[in-house]
Symmetry: C2
């Protein structure tokens, strides 16, 4: 997936406010470069400590080469939509969010016991393999978890470091702080609630939506956008618009993720087919399915979810129940409704950010990875 | 242990620079209050998300009621020694270091598989017990690890939040940033190297001292002190003094920790006797022992270290080897020499900070917990 090109959108920016296609086209490349530069600086720090730290650095570097850079885009366009001028500082803050996302993924994969991420072995699996390959003492799995905890901790610290060293004025950074801080705390809360859902297995649609809000919607869309706005000193009215757009699109984004987690093509998602089912994720899709299917089908769903040995036939059976019960259709309908809600909210945003935010609706929801 | 009282030290502060006993006496209480206030604010954030998050908040709150507050003291006196006036801002930054320490302990206990911390169950054990008590689905141990990862992540984020919101002027915070950032990155590096030592089991005294430097000495003494100094705009000469003092005392601090880990009284250390031995920690004490003992004794040490079922008799046997080989004496000698080196460095610091830094040498090394 590439970030939307800033071509003239259907709403038509006024001639006085042309979208500079380079802004959007180049953003991914600029974020990539900002991250690479930051990691190069950190690599020097690690090298000065010990040669043995290369695997730690590489685990973070390899993970960060991938990713859709959606959070960075929302932050950047939240800034631009509030009248912020394009500058290196906002790209740096936007890139910091990718480090936050990396921390969340690395730790989340440990918590979920996931094997793969972005088409590569999950970070804890990398460290376990390193341990095994070197015939070190003790448990490879435990070493893997420890390595991943530390890699995630580094990303969390580096996220904050990049934010503070972005070069944006102190008063701007201070204005963004409340969003930046809340984002981090609320994500940890969401992750904990997500775990609770899995171990309690008492999902309702309402509860699954609450979890989505905190474990994904907020930090994926809403808070990056609000952060960009707050940094640029956006007025309350615009922040309220961002809030509406971000909440709706953030939820739609995660619902799409959940659908891809079951129906996605492993060659584009970078995760094995049915992984979410084996991990027992209690998604909205699962909750809607359980509400709509027959008691016999519900028993199959409950038995299969979280079974680490669920085979292809088992995955297919669950897909069938999700499709035949109409649950997949219901969730696709929710994605459409939420996307429309986000789209409607963009009307209050000035061009050129409006066009890009419209295009980001599609990028976040009509995707295959 | 209580922080040293700021009474007139042996070096004698000039009458113009009396130590205000309240400064040092009250510091622990002020740090405690700053942490309690910060956690109360965060509890409101968590409550707004879900009632289910109380265990997450409690795990952090309970851990933070304990602790020697040494890092906070070094930061505060680094500031005062550089001419910084007493104020709430420096207490807030000093308290942030206690949150960093909490994050490190929570994640370290997962990595080491430790059962107890500060006389209470380790955070991952708390969450495992919560899972077990509720008869939730899946593995209690896995739930415990996940809960502890998130609790540690929260502490890392809150540390940064407290630093940024301390109220110290932006230019002061910017000046402290390089120490604050390096401290976090280097600790993760030290933790990784510490793990490597345990799985490779090829400890030498030189390597063990290198690990100590990064996994403890720097972030326990040297960097808190340098941070306080940098925040107050200390001249390079004073920073060099802090560096010398901090490096020496930091190493002595960890050597004392290692000795207490084997010979300490569980009722004061809050950790079961011999826990470090069962966890297979490759300390300087272990490395010196292996250098000095007989081949037969070395075989016993190698076999016993890291044995999770090592009983009281096995612990006693290792203690005997460490004592009889003279290794304990050697390490005690190192602690004395390093303490003297730190003490000598204080001569370049003005009163009243000088007296407190002298007293902190004893607090960090002549302790029973």
């Amino acid at each position: 997936m590439s970030l939307p090109v800033g071509s003239r959108g259907v709403t038509g920016a006024s001639p006085a406010d042309p979208v500079n296609p380079m802004d959007a086209e180049d953003l991914r490349a600029r974020v990539h470069k900002a991250l690479a530069d930051h990691l190069a600086t950190q690599a020097d720090v690690l090298d000065a400590v010990s040669d043995d730290l290369a695997p730690l650095m590489d685990s973070v570097g390899d993970l960060l080469t991938g990713g859709k850079r959606l959070r960075a885009a929302f932050c950047y366009w939240g800034w631009r939509g509030a009248g912020g001028e394009d500058c290196a500082g906002i790209v740096s803050v936007a890139s910091a969010l990718e480090l936050f996302q990396a921390a969340a993924l690395i730790h989340d994969d440990v918590m979920d016991g996931s094997d793969t991420r972005r088409g590569q072995p999950a970070v804890h699996r990398r460290f376990a393999a390193l341990h095994r390959g070197n015939h070190w003492l003790g448990s490879s799995a435990d070493f893997g978890v420890a390595g991943a905890i530390l890699a995630g901790d580094l990303c969390l610290s580096w996220c904050d470091e990049m934010y503070a060293a972005s070069g944006l004025p102190p008063e701007s950074l201070a204005a963004g702080r409340s969003v930046f801080d809340l984002m981090r705390t609320e994500l940890m809360c969401g992750q904990y609630l997500d775990m609770l859902e899995q171990v309690q297995a008492t999902t309702t649609v309402e509860r699954a939506r609450h979890v989505i809000l905190y474990k994904s919607a907020k930090y994926s869309v809403q808070q990056p956008l609000l952060l960009g706005g707050a940094l640029a000193g956006a007025p309350d009215e615009l922040l309220a618009t961002y809030d509406r757009y971000g909440r709706a699109l953030g939820e739609a984004f995660q619902l799409r993720d959940d659908v891809l987690g079951v129906f996605g093509d492993p060659t584009t998602t970078g995760k094995p087919a049915g992984d979410d089912l084996r991990e027992g994720k209690r998604t909205v899709l699962v909750a809607v399915t359980l509400e709509r299917c027959s008691p016999a089908e519900a028993a199959v769903v409950r038995r299969s979810l979280g079974d680490p040995h669920l085979d292809a036939a088992g995955v297919d059976r669950l897909r069938e129940v999700m499709t035949d019960s109409g649950a997949l259709g219901v969730v696709e309908g929710m994605i459409s409704d939420l996307s429309a809600e986000a789209m409607a909210a963009t009307a209050a945003v000035d061009a050129p950010a409006r066009e890009v935010l419209e295009q980001l609706v599609a990028a976040a929801t009509a995707r295959s990875q």
